[in-house]
């Protein structure tokens, strides 16, 4: 397309020139109206102007031939330049791992033209919905369309467990050994679980098919069909949009140019994990920008490697302490100290002013003048929900929280539901919100699947989330956990038994949200450090419960180093009652017990 434009730009003056010549000639002959096309008039000119006509024909002909030669030369030159550029780009060292993912890519040859259930996006919410649909609608045929090359996988281990694995081939297998000895893959199901897309129509008992590497670019809500990036159209009966989001970047980095972008990782997918793992082994210093969940988890994970690989790990963020937007200040400060003890150099109250690449190193200049020199940057500054389809589908986008606006039943319009990170939904208890956590993706995906099969249930079962920052600090949380709300924290002193490691060993579970169902999960304890400081100091926040209040009602709860009590927390939020004495409520958690 660019070629055409440049060619046209070059031809335009020529065209204009030749047309002016023609027009002038026409005027001279004086027997044609100016609205007519000059060239045509040439051939129908009066007999008297014959010789002049021939001259004009010659002139125009010459101009055209000249133009053609010029065009040909330019296009050839452009082509050559283009080829040179392509060669140059491909000769650059690859940033990402180029290995093919092991046999988890689902091959397909034909795409079904219609599917009863279409799920756009192949992440956690989508998979949970697929499972829900299959459980409730016998023989259901479900088609998942994802632009990633991988079938559905879980995201938390990418910034936690996978980093603690001792297996050198972990970037290939993507398996991790849990502390209870059980190993599992990050993929929800092995490839044999899914059926091929072309077999979906004829499958007697239905099934789940995954179309990888395909992006949905257009949605026709009236016609109940979508269009892929290769122009294939698929019609559906019910559709789920679970497109998740794309990591945000700092403007200063985007504007800093290609050299800086090459040394920056926006972390979200499997390929980001692979490339970051590779990069982190070959550099001397890495800086993580962002002090939230992802940033802090990655900082701790990399911090643990810092001694092994002689790697300096820096984390910087504008808040006063890690998780500054989630934890009350006293706890955020305490957590920051713990993160530091994981080998991370924490720079708080840091606003990035500019980033430049000098002598193959990155120089980050902060607004207060401090300068940080590093080899690589990981930007963990939030997620931009993917609402690309909103325009073509005519769906509402929420201006406060971002994402598609849906009702309490997760429905956007008839036959269209949205779940996961991209859904801004109405929570009957806590109000309109958008949640970016793994368990929410599972819960909302499952709910959407239920509603797609006729359940009509609102979002009611409150999802939870968790985070571990090293072996000593782990917490589970539920509801609205915003540090700007007034909080009441009830703490006891921690013993050696109150660590994330101990919690999973005891319950024999893995992923924290599953520990409530006695299923596998994981805890990221790699070092065998002794129990946390059981000092006499009064301000040791070993374990406890923190209540977040809005108008005197508990809207959020953090269980700090206290595990397997989520059902109680969920109940308190569900009740939505005003409690006069939160210490009494805290008693329900038995924080002193194991």
């Amino acid at each position: 397309m660019l070629k055409c434009r440049t060619v046209w730009k070059k031809l335009a003056p020529l065209a204009r020139a030749s047309s002016t010549v023609c027009r002038q000639n026409v005027r001279r002959t004086g027997n044609v109206t100016l609205t007519c096309v000059p060239v045509a008039h040439m051939s129908t000119g009066p007999a008297g102007g014959g010789r002049e006509n021939q001259l004009y024909v010659l002139l125009v002909g010459a101009a055209c031939v000249g133009g053609a030669i010029y065009t040909y030369r330019t296009v050839k030159g452009d082509n050559q330049r283009y080829q040179d550029r392509i060669d140059e780009i491909s000769s650059r060292p690859y940033k990402r791992a180029t290995e093919e993912p092991p046999s988890t890519v689902i091959p397909f040859f034909l795409v079904p033209s219609h599917t009863p259930y279409l799920l756009i996006g192949g992440g956690t919410a989508s998979f949970a919905a697929a499972r829900s649909i299959r459980a409730r609608d016998p023989g259901a045929k479900v088609l998942i369309v994802t632009d990633e090359p991988d079938p559905p996988y879980m995201r938390p281990p990418l910034s936690k467990e996978l980093w603690f694995s001792n297996d050198p081939s972990v970037t290939e297998t993507l398996r991790f050994k849990q502390w209870n000895g059980k190993e599992r893959s990050i993929y929800f199901q092995p490839p044999s679980f899914y059926i091929n897309a072309e077999e979906l129509d004829g499958a007697e008992n239905g099934g789940v098919a995954v179309l990888t590497g395909k992006k949905v670019v257009h949605m026709d809500v009236r016609g109940n069909k979508i269009k892929l990036d290769d122009d294939t159209e698929i019609s559906y009966d019910k559709c789920l949009i679970a497109t998740g989001g794309v990591p945000r970047n700092l403007q200063v980095i985007e504007r800093a140019g290609e050299e800086v972008m090459k040394k920056t990782t926006l972390f979200r997918k499997i390929e980001d994990f692979k490339s970051l793992d590779k990069v982190s082994r070959n550099i001397k210093s890495i800086t993580i920008i962002g002090g939230g969940f992802l940033g802090s988890e990655l900082a701790c994970a990399l911090g643990r490697r810092s001694t092994e690989y002689d790697l300096e790990v820096v984390q910087m963020f504008p808040e006063k302490g890690n998780m500054g937007k989630v934890l009350p200040e006293y706890l955020s400060n305490w957590t920051t100290e713990k993160v530091k003890s994981e080998g991370v150099k924490v720079i708080s109250e840091a606003l990035v002013k500019s980033v430049v690449c000098k002598d193959d190193k990155l120089e980050i200049k902060l607004k207060d003048g401090r300068l940080v020199k590093t080899d690589h940057i990981v930007a963990a500054v939030g997620l931009e929900p993917n609402v690309d389809l909103a325009k073509s589908a005519g769906l509402e986008v929420d201006s406060d929280f971002g994402g598609f606006r849906v009702n309490a039943e997760l429905q956007a319009r008839s036959n269209i539901w949205v779940a996961g990170d991209a859904a801004c939904f109405y929570d009957i208890r806590l109000g309109r919100r958008r949640v970016e956590h793994h368990d929410h993706a599972v819960v909302s995906g499952r709910l959407a699947g239920e509603n797609m099969t006729g359940a009509n249930k609102p979002y009611w079962h409150q999802s939870m989330f968790w985070s571990d920052l090293g072996p000593d600090v782990g917490y589970e949380a539920i509801g609205i956990v915003d540090s700007s709300l007034p909080t009441v924290g009830v703490f006891a002193k921690a013993t050696a038994k109150d660590t994330p490691k101990a919690a999973t060993e005891k319950s024999g579970t893995g992923i924290r949200s599953e520990s409530e169902t006695e299923d596998t999960a994981i805890s990221p304890v790699a070092s065998l450090t002794p129990a946390p400081n059981v000092g006499q100091h009064k301000d040791e926040y070993g374990k406890g419960v923190i209540f977040y209040l809005r108008d005197k009602v508990v809207v959020g709860i953090i269980l700090w180093n206290v595990f397997n009590r989520m059902p109680i927390a969920r109940k308190i939020i569900k009740d939505g009652e005003e409690h006069a004495d939160l210490n009494e409520v805290a008693k329900l958690f038995n924080i002193h017990d194991d």
């Binding site: 649909i133 059980k182 199901q189 059926i195 239920e450 009441v488 703490f491 596998t520 805290a586 008693k587």
Partner: protein, 164 residues
């Protein structure tokens, strides 16, 4: 003794074990076991099986989902002396299907026999427990443990049939 501090809008209370010994006087709202909004356990209030229960993992949704549903439904509604004795064909179909997907339904013999007793007793107890104890399950999809637990239960049933 408990110790309390205020930091701006945040209140911090430190409590000893003795402080929390007395039972709580916090009032919780009574739960309605038939609340349609609530997450249901394995058995729904009307006695049907909740195929979407996270405790089943991927059993009802995988490639052998329909065979599993038939076998388990037959067992659940069975009124025979030996529960599920008429369901042997269903279970055989299910096992045949599962053997075609060893990756999804690992066939570990030793684990099965030890888990068989545990899970068969829990499965038969499930109908009574189900409504009273709604499991707070937000689990991500199946892991091999739950799948092998339920599949081992079914195979143990078949073994029982052949034995008797």
């Amino acid at each position: 003794m408990s110790y309390c501090r205020q930091e701006g809008k945040d209140r911090i209370i430190f409590v000893t074990k003795e402080d929390h010994e007395a039972p709580s006087n916090a009032e919780l709202v009574a739960d309605d076991p038939n609340d349609p909004y609530e997450e249901q356990g394995l058995i729904l209030p009307n006695g049907d099986i909740n195929w979407n229960c996270p405790c089943l993992g991927g059993m009802a949704s995988g490639p052998c989902g329909s065979q599993f549903k038939e076998a388990f439904s037959c067992f659940h509604y069975s009124k025979e002396e030996v529960k599920g004795s008429e369901c042997i064909d269903n279970f055989r179909n299910m096992q045949e299907c599962m053997q075609r997907y060893p990756e999804l339904y690992p066939q570990e013999e030793d684990k099965e026999s030890s888990q068989a007793e545990a899970s068969s007793s829990s499965v038969s107890a499930a109908p009574t427990e189900g409504s009273a104890l709604p499991p707070e399950t937000d689990s991500t999809p199946a892991t091999s443990t739950s799948e092998s637990a339920v599949s081992s239960d079914s195979t143990s049933l078949i073994d029982n049939q052949t034995a008797s």
